[in-house]
Symmetry: C3
């Protein structure tokens, strides 16, 4: 069986990283060799080594041309890691990054060209659940304004699918939607691991 | 008038093949030279010649990397047929193929690059009508679970449009939506034939 | 600060050109060097010089292959203008052009490759307001048929986002949505100018 690369994406609050960790655990349990690499971690690492350390949450507030440069460097580094790996690889990242000035594509053509994914995965959750999860991360007393937040979340989910569709046409890789309702992370991990069995 | 190539797509149940046949008949009637080629047929043919015959319905259950190889071979074969044709060509195929593991793009970049379409056509029908048509194809006693099916159909139609949009940006060809309500196949065929008159 | 290029798009009736003009005025007021170039104007100019003058409103009724040729020529001309400019550039154009036969992409790959945008801007307005604005442009007595028009406008807005998403993946440029409700053009211009401050 050939080694496969799945790019796993999801907007903040869908539980993407949890699902990736569950999948890693499940793979270990079943003796399937699988490694999860985090795109954002690699970007932060590159910043640190370059002597411009940056807190992770501030990555999305960087100006766009700097973001692009680091994005390309991270992609090159991940491509090397993929090449030298003798196991399946999950790349944990974003389809879109909501910045102050718009939706930045997490997987522009030049990144796809080097990562060569076999699967483009969208982890999705209902907007209501995402809002609930995001609210938990706020300081006490803060509250997400419901109607506008709901609209924004729907827009983010919609743009994720649109951008995924474009990535799919460029790479030929299928778009795989995996639902992650509250309490469903084990089911989601199972569905994700399924991709590597083929 | 230059020879033109329209890629005609639609999810199962929209009546795509019927519309293509009506268009072929209408063209013959009006003395417009037009040929319909079916992408799936060519894929099945390639499988048969390679000594791995496969029932058509099982194509979508093949593993994805094998699908991709045959997809590329079929595209190359169709490109040759287009080149040697002295008539307009309709390619009857899918914008997305719903497989067990996700939406596979029917027209990834490498396929578009060789087919060079002038038009990207989406045949569309209301989800309710598609569900009714699909139900007819089921064995007696089977029934499509309404709410979930309706949601899935909307998702398939939505992804078809998203993928078509990406194909349009890559090729410069317009996305043409042709509605095919029940009883409307002659109108749909007329609209489709219209593309070749320009 | 580096010179930047924003492609500003919107369907007829969203007030795109008004927002562009407001932005130009605001930039002048603040001493920010900024030039607005109109893609359609350049296309009309090319037609005139070629001895085939054409009224602007008829551009979208041209046959598609001729449209594509002029589109490519206009893009090349704009790319030269961008190169020689020592100021920021806004290109006022369309993400999609609704023609008699479908949605033609205003920014196909070959156009994006030469324009190299830093930002892909969608000016958006609620369908109800767009319909109201479009109705004003009609001859007395004419009326837009409400339900169908509303559906078509939603479809145009949806396709604009889908096509923008594909452009974003190809270029790496973010999709920036700027709302332009009635009376909000100054706010919209402010948001647009913000892109060039970075």
């Amino acid at each position: 069986m050939a080694r496969k690369v799945a790019i796993v994406t999801g907007i903040p609050g869908v539980g993407k990283t949890t699902v990736c960790k569950e999948t890693e655990a499940l793979a270990a349990q079943e003796g399937i060799k699988l490694k999860v690499l985090n795109f954002g971690d690699v970007m932060v690492e590159i910043m640190e080594r370059s002597g411009r350390p940056l807190h992770r949450d501030r990555l999305r507030k960087m100006d766009i041309s700097s973001q692009k440069v680091i994005q390309a460097q991270a992609a090159a580094k991940l491509a090397k890691a993929i090449e030298s790996a003798d196991e399946h690889v999950i790349i944990d990242t974003h389809m879109i990054i909501r910045t102050g000035t718009g939706y930045l594509p997490g997987l522009p053509k030049h990144v796809l060209d080097v990562l060569k994914p076999d699967f483009l995965v969208l982890i999705e959750t209902d907007p209501e659940e995402i809002a609930a999860r995001r609210t938990k991360d706020l300081a006490a007393g803060e509250r997400l304004r419901d109607v506008r937040v709901m609209e924004e979340l729907k827009e983010e989910l919609e743009f994720s699918r649109m951008v995924a569709s474009a990535c799919s046409v460029l790479t030929g890789a299928p778009v795989v939607i995996i639902k992650n309702p509250t309490g469903g992370q084990k089911e989601a991990a199972k569905a994700l691991l399924e991709l590597f069995r083929g």
